[in-house]
Amino acid sequence: MVRVLELDSLSKSYDGTVALDGLSFAVGEGQVFGFVGPNGAGKTTAMRIILGVLAADAGEVRWRKRPLDHELRRRIGYMPEERGLYPKMHVAEQLTYLAEVHGVATDEARANTARWLERLGIADRAHDRVEELSLGNQQRVQLAAALVHEPDLLVLDEPFSGLDPVGVDVLSEVLLDVTRERGVPVIFSSHQLELVERLCDAVAIIRSGRLVASGRVDELRTREAGNRWKVEVDGAPEDWADRLDGVHHLGDSSYELDPGIDPQTLLAEARRAGAVNHFAREVPGLAELFREVIGADAGKDGDS
């Protein structure tokens, strides 16, 4: 994986409260990257540091091995969690302005605006004030605002919150298209873990400003899964596996194997007990994984 965006040991405290505590992770070329963690874990702080609207106390953000500076940051498309638009400004004028502020020439800014409004299905609202739009449409304008200068990286803070299912579909489709067409990596935070799992190539899970786990979603799932198997055996007694050492029955048809125990022993025992109609490694979903790595001490994290 080519690491395009690297967060390296970021730390930040506000008036004695630690928001980030040596956070590091990397986003690869063309990846859709999910950023998850309980409220107050430091996601927004990390994003604001990436955008340079907040300075880290320590650590560094790098873009293709170079420390992220002002010029490079202009190539980022950013969508803050709350609004991020002038409520009284007309949609098209606003998008053109934001593109220009990001260094795009006026003509190109206008063309990009028209194209993204068309693409997001809000071309007919181009001359309305932002505050006159429905929440869903405002969110589309926000997304257009993040895309209108054709950025090299998208950083979106909770882009899906408050969207209806259609909005979620439109937004996810756009994000996938942008990464596919232009190879633009997208990093976004979300609490909708099923969505993160469906969209993301890789994730970072953080808690209390520290990284808990990060990597490709499938790898993480297997890695964090442990050695857990689902075995269904017809006609076998409930306790068919009890005499095997290092195998723990977790209830239903789940069995956890201690490290070093060969799953084949379990299978052999199962076949002795009856007709095996299901034997597979149990891989937890992201939600389950999240609960597992966060859940234990989620109560400690306050909201911020």
Binding site: R48, L51, G52, V53, L54, A55, H70, R73, R74, I76, Y78, M79, P80, E81, E82, R83, G84, L85, Y86, P87, K88, M89, H90, E93, Y97, L98, E100, V101, H102, G103, A145
Partner: protein, 391 residues
């Protein structure tokens, strides 16, 4: 992106924002309408303050009437001479007020309401008429008598201003106060709007805080200057063709000083309002945060009353040199011809210094506070921020 382009873009947005706003257009229209009404009312009522007198004449008093007409010009009054049939009629008309006074063979018929000016005028005319007759009797030519009796008048020099420019001084102080007030508030609410909507995060990921601040202050200021000039132009444009309105001789100086002091006063207050706005995150907190500035501004406006009443008073002179008060007091004094050039120059120089200092301070506070969300930042904290490196 160049500094200039970043500032231009943000300033242009501010200008468009205002021109697009119905509230702004309505307010401007109202202000122009108010100015027109003021001009119209003063044209109809007080405008023409030249005194008019009706003087009755019994019998042939040609020499005296001629002199009276000449004197009327010197006295700056309009004199209408009416022939009256006889003494009784003259007395009756003066008594009824149809005539202000009447002359009849060496007597001046007056009533209680006859003004001293008219009496003095007629007396002077009578003296001159008699003298002129005497002189001619002694063989002097008409031209010679004229020269003796009507020597060139002393040129009149007015000092201390007096009432002449007071009306204009009131208007100037009020206009500057309202303009600085409303545009200063616009800067503060604009800063907070960007903060509360988090637009500021998006913009500041692309341009620097100082560029956004400069663009905002310049854009709003530009609209303000155009609006103030529009009001002044409409006022003068409406007043000048109506020659019934006497504009004091100080008007051009005043117009220039308004054109200087509005931008300066605006800049000074706009910086202060911007820095204050950056300390809060919600529109609800703007008012309490900016109240110290209101106190300064309203205080300056109230102090300008003393500059209007007694433009040479110590208070007025001192306030001329206090940058936060000067924008309202200096033009008010100038309207009454009571602002010496050196005082104006020093006052403007002090304002420029104060503005330079405040721009520096405001930019530092703004840079450090504008991205801090949450509870309002206290002034003591803000001043501490100034000493920390920018985040």
């Amino acid at each position: 992106m160049t500094n200039r382009r970043a500032i231009f873009l943000t300033a242009r947005r501010e200008v468009r924002d205002r021109l697009r706003s119905r509230a702004f257009l309505i307010a401007t229209g109202l202000q122009v309408a108010v100015v027109l009404v003021i001009v119209a009312v003063s044209a109809i009522t007080g405008g023409d303050d030249t005194q008019k007198y009706d003087l009755g004449v019994v019998g042939d008093q040609e020499a005296l009437v001629q002199q009276a007409r000449a004197q009327a010009q010197a006295f700056d009054v309009e004199l209408t001479v009416k022939q009256v049939a006889d003494r009784a009629d003259a007395e009756k008309q003066v008594d009824e007020g149809n005539l202000d006074a009447a002359i009849d063979s060496g007597e001046l018929i007056t009533s209680a309401s006859t003004e001293d000016t008219l009496v003095a005028l007629v007396q002077s005319a009578a003296r001159t008429a008699t003298a002129s007759e005497e002189l001619r009797g002694h063989g002097l030519s008409t031209a010679e008598t004229e020269r003796v009796l009507n020597p060139p008048q002393l040129e009149r020099v007015e000092v201390g201003g007096g009432d002449e420019g007071q009306g204009l001084a009131w208007i100037a102080a009020l206009l500057l106060y309202i303009a600085i007030f409303s545009y200063g508030v616009a800067v503060a609410t604009g800063v907070v709007e960007e903060k509360s909507t988090r637009v500021v995060e998006v913009i500041l990921s692309a341009i620097r805080p100082v560029q956004l601040l400069a663009g905002k202050v310049l854009g709003i200021g530009l609209v303000g200057i155009v609006q103030v000039l529009l009001i002044v132009a409409v006022g003068l444009g409406a007043a000048l063709p109506l020659d019934t309105i006497d504009l004091p001789s100080s008007t051009p100086t005043l117009a220039i000083l308004v054109a200087i002091y509005f931008p300066l006063g605006y800049l000074l207050y706009a910086c202060a309002f911007a820095a204050t706005g950056s300390l809060v995150s919600r529109q609800e907190d703007v008012q309490s945060a900016t109240s110290p500035l209101f106190i300064l501004l309203v205080g300056g406006y109230i102090l300008s009353f003393s500059g209007i009443g007694t433009p040479d008073s110590t208070v007025a002179v001192i306030c001329t040199f206090v940058p936060f008060f000067a924008p309202m007091i200096a033009p008010a004094r100038a309207a009454q011809d009571a602002l010496p050039a050196w005082e104006a120059a020093l006052s403007i120089a002090l304002m420029l210094l104060a503005i330079a200092a405040l721009i520096w301070l405001a930019a530092r506070i703004y840079e450090r506070a504008v991205l801090r969300m949450g509870a309002p930042i206290r002034w003591r904290e803000a001043l501490k921020l100034v000493r920390t490196p920018a985040s």
